[in-house]
């Protein structure tokens, strides 16, 4: 087997952009599905689902669905940061503050198109993310957690100090005016849902690009990432900034949905609940964030109704929500260590296996060996070699019984003859 590569005569940097990666006939080429088209289909499907959902429930439920969507926005960023880049933030509430106050200030001093206001609020949080992310890129996980925790503690205090931020009372926001005869609560929910779907769409594109790959490479091994030409610190700052931008958008939406933005809305417990909800849903999964967001919104609702039924005192009922959340998190982590979405995926794979009547994926180690044997004559030599290597020892099906995983048959035999 020769490794001479016919199209690599010149240095890569010297070739024009269009010819950098000429297609080659050799090998099994996997064509990834065009991400834009696939994600747009998912976006439309998600929009249709939420349209049916919001039009078929009460106004109060519309409010809650909107809340779920805005928390999904925040959790998406956090999930990218932790699940794909391996950084932890205990202070994403601080970036929500940045987004929320930016929106409120814009509405107070220079009202404009809502979409533009949301974009500016997002950008402001992204800038804050760069500022925090730059020192954070040099910190290991425990120190980073400490720094972000401090941020979540300090920023509300800072905002309360200055008159421009409205002190303790905060600033009011103007809810968007619903077009026509539309229910304004429903309209707001739709805006929030649209934002959430767009964020999920954009992030899932990003995670399939060179940036997403760099995020994961840095998460797994920084030295190897640097040797592959990845600027480790810059990649970490980018991930932090994108994550902060998501939190900023979520904060701006929260300010819109509540109608007021003040520091009491973003306590430290919010930042910690966000992290817990992200882990609960499944770190790194853009589907898992929805489970986390549902838990964030409904857990407190359920806790309130439960404490009413149990006729608990006000102080006890205040903590019941946290206690239930903690208990759910512990149980979920015991049952599904990779989060709810990880558990769902596991169950789906099992169901799929039951339906198909075979192993879940043909790529599982045992499956390949079994498939190779079942296919008999159809199995290529390479598959057999792979199967024997995977099995760890040569099965009786392989006459030469070589435990080596040499894929080129002839040279293996010469090797054995010599030995």
């Amino acid at each position: 087997m020769t490794s001479a590569r016919p199209d690599s005569a010149g240095p890569v940097t010297a070739s024009p952009p269009g010819t950098r990666w000429p297609a080659r006939a050799a090998g099994r080429v996997r064509l990834p599905r065009q991400p834009l088209v696939r994600n747009l289909i998912l976006l439309i499907a998600g929009a249709a689902f939420f349209y049916v959902l919001t039009t078929s429930v009460s106004t109060y439920n519309d409010f809650q669905i909107g809340e779920i969507a805005l928390y999904a926005v925040v959790l998406a960023g956090l999930s990218l940061l932790t699940g794909h880049n391996g950084q932890f933030s205990l202070g994403h509430g601080a970036f929500m503050i940045v987004g929320g106050y930016t929106l409120a200030l814009l509405q107070a001093y220079d009202p404009m198109n809502l979409a533009l206001e949301l974009v500016i609020a997002t950008a402001a949080a992204a800038v804050a993310g760069v500022v925090v992310g730059m020192p954070a890129a040099r910190l290991s996980a425990p120190y980073l957690a400490g720094v972000t925790l401090l941020l979540a503690l300090a920023l509300p205090q800072l905002a309360a100090q200055y008159g421009v931020f409205g002190g303790e009372q905060g600033l009011t926001t103007t809810p968007p005016i619903a077009p026509g005869s539309l229910n304004s609560q429903q309209w707001l929910a739709w805006i929030e849902i649209l934002c959430a779907l767009l964020v999920v769409l954009v992030l899932s594109n990003l995670l399939r690009s060179r940036f997403g790959r760099a995020f994961r490479a840095v998460r797994d091994d920084e030295v190897a990432a640097a040797l592959s030409g990845i600027h480790v610190a810059r990649t970490k700052v980018l991930a932090f900034s994108i994550s902060a931008a998501c939190a900023g958008l979520g904060g701006a939406l929260l300010a819109l949905s509540v109608g007021v933005v003040n520091t009491g809305e973003f306590p430290l417990s919010l930042s910690i609940a966000l992290l817990a909800a992200m882990v609960l849903g499944g770190a790194g999964s853009l589907i898992g964030i929805w489970w986390g967001a549902v838990a964030l919104v409904y857990m407190s609702t359920w806790a309130t109704s439960l404490s009413k039924q149990l006729a608990l005192g006000t102080s006890a009922s205040a903590y019941l929500s946290d206690a239930i959340f903690g208990a759910v998190l512990i149980v979920a982590m015991l049952a599904a260590p990779t989060g709810i979405q990880g558990g769902v995926r596991w169950v789906l794979r099992r169901l799929w296996a039951l339906v198909i009547g075979g192993p879940p994926t043909a790529r599982a180690p045992g499956a390949q060996a079994a498939g190779g044997r079942a296919a008999g004559a159809r199995a290529s030599g390479r598959e057999v070699a792979a199967a024997s290597a995977n099995a760890g020892s040569a099965g009786p099906a392989f006459a030469d019984g070589s435990p080596t995983m040499q894929s080129t048959g002839p040279s293996r035999h010469t090797e054995e003859d010599r030995a």
């Binding site: 940036f211 040797l227 792979a386 435990p403 030995a419």
Partner: protein, 296 residues
């Protein structure tokens, strides 16, 4: 036959490189050249400074004195992430693959320094990013196919036999089409057959790039390299063709010690392989030892 040495300015030149770790001198005025299309072996006992030299070349360690020049340009303040664009790739001791990325993604990452898709097109998933991704994935798939490991493309490295992981690591290094490939113990943990194939592969890589190879398996080094540089205690003790190095008394001393030799050291595989100058290929004893070693 070693290719003609290129004139100064081409290839890699290390001149009087000195690296200190606190009071320890890890490298002491080390000089070596790697001409284009040349395979140079770097050998020496454990702690001789081989990996430190690699780290100094790749910018992980700053030398106290001396220079590293690549293609006529001195590399002074370079960092590891600059190497890809300079045409230098390095494999790590062990495998150094990312466990959370599929084999295909691992290999695709090798092309990372040459990707240009801007953030906006990556976020929107438009053609500029998606076309680049498609090309990179095709390229990665074909490099995997060349190395004979394409059926593992969608698996995670941790579940694969060690020999496959080593090939994936090599594939990742080749993705950037380097003009200098630094291999840090590419044969460690490989079966004897894999090692033979690796040797042939390194020889054929010479058509496209220069290779600097750190390796403990003397038979592989002797069979593969055009020239060999021997380090001991941070100093170059010998350099030359495999035959010259094999005959050098300094090398024997470095590996086996002075006449009153430590018997344990003399029994070590590296030592016995170095001493055995009659067998260029794997010896029967070594083959027996390795045949027990299932790759994985």
């Amino acid at each position: 036959m070693a290719p003609a040495r290129a004139d100064a300015g081409a290839g890699l030149q290390v001149r009087e490189l000195t690296v200190h770790f606190g009071g320890l001198t890890a490298l002491d005025q080390v000089s070596l050249d790697v001409a284009p299309h040349e395979v140079v072996g770097l050998i020496g006992p454990n702690g001789a400074g081989k990996t430190t030299l690699f780290n100094a070349i790749t910018g992980f360690v700053r030398p106290a004195r001396g220079t590293v020049s690549w293609e006529g340009r001195p590399l002074r303040r370079h960092r590891a992430h600059h190497l890809g664009r300079l045409g230098i790739a390095r494999t790590l001791q062990g495998v150094g693959l990312w466990p959370g990325l599929t084999v295909l993604e691992n290999v695709a990452c090798g092309a990372q320094p040459f990707l240009h898709a801007d953030l906006l097109s990556a976020l929107t998933g438009t053609w500029r990013s998606s076309r680049e991704e498609r090309r990179v994935n095709e390229e990665a798939a074909s490099v995997l196919a060349e190395l004979g490991v394409s059926e593992w493309a969608d698996r995670f490295p941790g579940s694969l036999p060690y020999g496959v992981q080593k090939r994936v690591a090599l594939a990742r290094a080749l993705m950037g089409r380097p003009r200098l490939l630094l291999l840090d113990e590419p044969a460690s943990g490989l079966s004897i057959a894999d090692m033979e194939e690796l040797s042939g592969r390194i020889r054929s890589l010479r058509d496209e790039m220069a290779v600097l190879l750190v390796e403990h398996h003397m038979d592989l080094v002797m069979a593969t390299c055009d020239r060999i540089v021997v380090l001991n205690f941070g100093e170059v003790v010998a350099a030359g063709t495999p035959a010259e190095v094999r005959a050098s008394p300094e090398v024997t001393a470095a590996y086996l010690g002075e006449p009153v030799a430590d018997p344990v050291l003399a029994e070590s595989p590296a030592g016995s392989a170095a001493a055995d100058d009659r067998a260029p290929g794997p010896t029967a004893g070594a083959a027996k030892a390795w045949s027990d070693d299932v790759a994985g």
